[in-house]
């Protein structure tokens, strides 16, 4: 609002448009949703784009630029809106941008095949007395439907330049750039068409008179626009008057009186009169400039909708679409990770080779640290193929126009739980079945116009099945529900929906009760064929967002957790004890090999070199698959150190055999010592202490302190839970799967424990990246805190209920699972019915 504060010191002048003074031109793109505006934006600016936020609201500000005739042109893609009222943040930021940033040109992009309704917005832009170019986009569709638009006549009637384009095919881009230059560089003198409001004109003139004589608003805003907006009852313009007028009360009371008088006299609310006039004019111009084909066919889109929105086929198609989404992204994407994982493994190997070698029982801190970070990042980078496919498919759904159909089908169901038809996309992204990601899901909530539903959706999404929760589910199901894998997987995949709906319902009936709601009224746009460029571009953009999340947040949190697990470490006394053990083991080994030809060569550092050599030999062996490669590997190891090699592969040499056997024993002892040291370090660590400290409470949910530690580490990113469990249940033997290790390490752990743990994981608080997304989308840190605390309380409550009650009743894991499922289902149905009663009271 710096324009307002400057007004006192500046000489009031009439509202005038900015002339281009610099080499830079600022262009705004305005248009209704589904008019192909983002295609125009992409065509104009190519890859030079940048996303930011409009101050104070959660609306994206897309900026891009291009060079034309030696000038830099900056393009701002305003949010799509049907109108320019003050009822929605999108419409408010659009008009504020135009009025405050004063772009040299505003390009009104419209769907030319929908001329009449789109002109409704054009008139509102023209009313702001700004330079406008009308961009008739989607001319290809116009041609296809055999419509005929007389662009010259349209330009004459509107009094502004009209540029027809078919941007999807790249046609008309040059002409549009030329037109932008031309309008930007000329004085804004063209008098565009103006809507006459008939009976309301004298009233508008009276308000204008009072505004210009009593305030300095005339120098800041188009005065006629202000007057019309006041007659419409626009709250924001009323506020503007209030801020700029010492006696605003009298002026606003005067306007209110005029509005009442008008309605009494003409039996029509002023805002209805204004809208009707705009439509009449749009109708008049459309009649004049548009010729329809002799026989209007039923639109193709409507024929598709006959199937897609069909009572029975509709839901089936939708389930099919969602299934395909998961199949292609999760199943096929997972297969792709078989090809990408070796790359990540190589990266780890590289880091490993760059860090200092481990000692006999001492792992250098830097080695442990870098490997920890690489492992944390790799765990997430591994998802990239899945995310790329997922985001690409979602872009196809968005561009094709299927999303509003999903909302149409799902609204009845979701609205009963305080959600919105448009919650469908975020919930699909968040993992309504298995495998989503809460970050993009929460980001996509911004499309939900209704604030209450939007907040409810944001708050429940973290409870859906994000991809990162899946490894823990799979781990636990493989160990504890191995005989009923399919049932357990079905349970965990669908239980989150049955928990999320009642929770959303409760939230909207309690703390979200007083939040603003918005009408559902939604356009069902025509279907369009998505373009490869648009789809791949969006997929890449979103994957990039995900990668950025990893490199910043996950790394920093991984570092914190590393420290919490590593420090304060093992006491000097204990370390001295381990050194003594080590010396004992080595002495025993030396004694055993005494007399062999190798004894001499395995003293001091040489022995350590053999440890590393042996270690490397084993890990290399694991990657080798066929005989031929094994022979090659043996040859290269032999070449590196023939003496060591003969110990590793003794053949028939008696001495070598003896040493081999003795060394195997030593190697195993070392492993045991390393494991014990690590275990002791974690027991001692800050995180370990925290886990133990929480045990008195979590005990009732069946969580043992080690599990607490894993859950705490999952706060960073849910993947960490499995990684931490992996670290806690040290590898006993080479290549032993975590499943086995965990089963071994947790002997008292039953399926009921696992069930409580899985349910806690379902309700688990959002990871840090998600928490930050919540803060951005909900617009406050308070919501972020709430989104962290309430699932934690809920999660522990549910886990305690299931575990304690299950134990008391002597239920098996599977029985408790079915019982809980039935309970959740009943609650969901009950909540759905409950709403109707409440709505009737309302």
């Amino acid at each position: 609002m710096d324009i307002l504060s400057a007004s006192g010191t500046m000489k009031p002048a009439l509202w005038r448009w900015n002339k281009v003074q610099s080499e830079k031109i600022l262009v705004a793109l305005a248009g209704q949703p589904n008019c192909g505006k983002s295609t125009v934006f992409n065509a104009l600016t190519g890859a030079s784009q940048h996303v930011a936020n409009y101050p104070g609201v959660t609306v994206d500000k897309m900026t891009g630029w291009y060079r034309h005739n030696g000038r830099k042109v900056e393009v701002v893609d305003l949010p799509g809106s049907y109108s320019l009222t003050s009822y929605s943040p999108e419409e408010r930021v659009s008009r504020d941008f135009i009025l405050h940033e004063k772009p040299s040109v505003t390009v009104n992009v419209m769907d030319a095949s929908n001329l009449k309704r789109c002109l409704y917005l054009t008139f509102q832009l023209l009313e702001m007395d700004i330079p406008v170019i009308l961009n008739l986009n989607m001319m290809d569709v116009v041609k296809q439907r055999k419509l005929d638009i007389d662009t010259d006549k349209l330009s004459n009637r509107l009094g502004i330049a009209v540029v027809p384009t078919a941007m999807k095919q790249g046609r008309g881009k040059k002409e549009l750039m030329e037109a932008i230059d031309k309008v930007a560089l000329s004085e804004h003198t063209v008098r565009a068409a103006r809507i006459e409001y008939g009976e309301m004109e004298p009233v508008i003139r009276n308000i204008m008179k009072r505004l210009s004589s009593e305030t300095s608003l005339e120098s800041l805003y188009p005065i006629r626009w202000l007057a019309i907006k006041l007659m419409e009852g626009d709250r924001e313009v009323q506020r503007l008057v209030q801020e700029n007028h010492s006696d605003f009360k009298s002026l606003l009371a005067y306007v209110e009186k005029l509005r009442e008088d008008f309605e009494a006299l003409y039996d029509e609310a002023p805002e209805v009169h204004i809208a009707n006039r705009r439509y009449q004019m749009a109708d008049d111009i459309t009649r004049d400039c548009l010729r329809l084909p002799a026989s209007a066919k039923r639109p193709f889109s409507d024929k598709i909708d006959g199937l897609v929105c069909h009572r029975i086929l509709g839901p089936i198609i939708m389930i099919g679409v969602i299934w395909l989404l998961y199949y292609l992204a999760i199943v096929q994407g997972y297969n792709l990770t078989n090809y990408t994982w070796p790359v990540l493994a190589k990266l780890r190997g590289l880091v490993e080779s760059l860090t200092p070698d481990p000692g006999f029982i001492e792992i250098p801190l830097s080695r442990a640290f870098f490997l920890w970070v690489v492992d944390s990042v790799n765990a997430l980078l591994n998802y990239i193929p899945i995310f790329f496919i997922l985001f690409g498919l979602i872009a196809i759904l968005e561009d094709s126009g299927y999303m509003p159909r999903m909302a149409f089908i799902m609204d009845r169901l979701f609205s009963r739980y305080g959600l919105h038809g448009q919650s469908t996309l975020p919930m699909v992204l968040g993992g309504i079945y298995v495998g989503g990601c809460a970050v993009p899901a929460i980001m996509s909530c911004k499309g939900i116009p209704d604030e209450r539903s939007r907040l409810a959706t944001i708050l429940i999404i973290p409870m859906l099945n994000c991809l990162a929760k899946v490894p823990l589910y799979v781990l636990l199901i493989n160990i504890y529900f191995a005989a009923h894998k399919a049932w357990a997987m079905f349970f965990i995949s669908t239980i989150s929906l049955l928990l999320v709906l009642p929770v959303s319902k409760i939230l909207t009936l309690t703390i979200l009760r007083d939040k603003e709601t918005a009408p559902f009224v939604m356009e069902m746009p025509s279907y369009h064929m998505p373009t490869i460029r648009g789809v791949v571009g969006r997929a890449l953009e979103r994957v990039w967002l995900f990668v950025r999340k990893i490199t910043t947040i996950v790394v920093s949190v991984a570092v914190i957790i590393f420290m919490l697990l590593q420090f304060p470490g093992i006491s000097k006394d204990r370390m001295a004890y381990y050194h003594g053990e080590k010396d004992k083991a080595i002495t025993a080994f030396q004694k055993r090999i005494k007399g062999t030809g190798y004894a001499e060569g395995l003293q001091g550092d040489n022995l350590m070199a053999l440890v590393l050599y042996w270690d490397e030999y084993i890990s290399t062996r694991m990657t080798v698959k066929d005989e031929e490669a094994a022979a090659g590997m043996n040859a290269s190891f032999k070449e590196r150190n023939p003496v060591f090699f003969s110990i590793v592969q003794p053949g028939d040499d008696k001495d070598a055999k003896k040493v081999n056997k003795a060394f195997k024993g030593l190697f195993k002892e070392r492993k045991g010592m390393l494991r014990e040291i690590r275990k002791e370090r974690i027991d001692n660590s800050f995180l370990g202490r925290l886990g133990k400290w929480m045990e008195p409470v979590t005990r009732w949910a069946g969580f043992h302190w080690r599990v607490n530690v894993a859950l705490l580490s999952a706060l960073a990113a849910k993947e960490s839970s499995v990684a931490t469990l992996g670290a806690l249940y040290e590898q006993e033997e080479e290549g032993e799967a975590l499943e086995k290790r965990m089963a071994k390490g947790e002997e008292g752990f039953t399926p009921l424990h696992a069930l409580a743990l899985m349910l806690f994981m379902v309700l688990y608080p959002p990871c840090l990246a998600t928490a930050i997304a919540v803060k951005i989308q909900a617009g406050s840190a308070r919501w972020m805190l709430f989104s962290i605390i309430y699932p934690m309380v809920l999660g522990i409550a549910v886990a305690i209920l299931v575990f304690s009650l299950g134990s008391a009743l002597g239920l098996s894991g599977l029985q408790a699972m079915f019982a809980f499922y039935g309970l959740a289902l009943a609650l969901t149905i009950f909540m759905g019915l409950y709403k109707n009663k409440l709505d009737n009271i309302d």
């Binding site: 049907y82 109108s83 009222t85 009822y87 929908n114 009449k116 309704r117 409704y120 609310a269 805002e271 209805v272 809208a275 009707n276 439509y279 639109p299 889109s301 409507d302 909708d305 929105c309 069909h310 009572r311 029975i312 509709g314 839901p315 509003p404 149409f408 089908i409 609204d411 009845r412 169901l413 609205s415 038809g421 918005a518 009408p519 559902f520 009224v521 939604m522 356009e523 069902m524 746009p525």
Partner: protein, 72 residues
Amino acid sequence: MTLDQMKPSSEGRIKRISVKDKLGQRLMDMGVYAGLRLKVIRNAPLEDPMEIELDGYFVSLRHDEARFVEVE
């Protein structure tokens, strides 16, 4: 009659919008205004919302919202 009472594939002319402020404005901005002909295309699989055709384009709205649109 109000719009929410109309059955799929019935037609009518909009007489009046009997709601103001946000919903009234939204309906007008989406092209629902007095004098225009409309046709009910279909109800959603779960009955609500409904889809209508206005002058060549399609809009969906909840029955709760449609009851403020008077049709003749």
